[in-house]
């Protein structure tokens, strides 16, 4: 992912998700990239820069974990503890 360009359709998907789900009072902290507002996150994804790629990676990784059943399996394992 780091060296590749983010496909436009994936950018659109991630941006739509952030636009509709991230309240404006929230900021996202990604280590040395600092704390980012909703607008800054969207701008990085649009540009497809290093921060944008990290944000897309996080979204895709979660989607894969949901789709593969990995997340559900892990959550069941701690549900009764």
């Amino acid at each position: 992912m780091n060296k590749d360009k983010i496909p436009e359709k994936i950018k659109e998907l991630v941006i739509t998700k952030i636009e509709s789900n991230m309240p404006s009072n929230l900021k996202l902290s990604i280590g040395s990239y600092g704390d980012l507002t909703k607008e800054e996150i969207i701008s990085h994804v649009k540009k497809g820069d290093e921060i944008g790629k990290q944000i897309v990676r996080v979204h895709m990784s979660f989607l894969k974990a949901v789709a593969s059943g990995e997340l559900a399996k892990k959550m069941i394992s701690v549900e009764n503890e």
Binding site: K17, I18, S20, N21, M22, P23, N25, L26, K27, L28, S29, I30, G31, S32, Y33, G34, D35, T37, Q54, V58, H59, S61, F62, A65, L71, K74, M75, S77, V78, E79, E81
Partner: protein, 214 residues
Amino acid sequence: MNKGMIITLPRNDYVTEYISQFSSEIIREANKKGIKVKNLKDKKVNQKEFEAVIKKLDYKLIVFNGHGSDKTIEGQNEVLIEYKVNDSILKERITYARSCNAAKVLGKECMKNNKKGCFIGYELPFMFYIDNNWISTPKKDKIAPLFLRPSNLIPISIIKGNSAFHAYENSKKQILKNINKILRKGGKESFLFAEALWNNYIGQVLIGNSSATL
């Protein structure tokens, strides 16, 4: 090596301010258990001071709060630990680094040829959301603890006498519990929170001796 903890508490931006303020839980637990603690705060989180303290006190548990990269862990605006420079000082200790990516190269390399120490950290950027309304009073923030408390559990579990593996597992289980709680509660931001928590879950690794205890 002596039973005790050195913890770095830099505050050079909001990210480090948050993780340092939320570290008070870790220090409180150490005090409760009678574990000696050396706090390195603000400007004192520099390489010279850190190396001097570690040499003098020789504490076994090291907790880093600060920015990081594949090969470095930072303090207050400067590198504290760097691969091939001074990473050998971590070799036989129990290290928890709440620093992005530092487990990737630095953590792996400093645990090579070593049977005693262990390194718990992240191979990915450590992520958390904050409520901007509380940015100047982080402890009042209700969002950040969802991400920071599970990570605090790593040193807290070790302070309580558990093995590094137990501490690592405790933290990971708490991340999953928080994902579960958030998704059940609903709300439009729930998936964003769950994604960031999942990132920390998959990024968190333990390298070295998983049976290590304080």
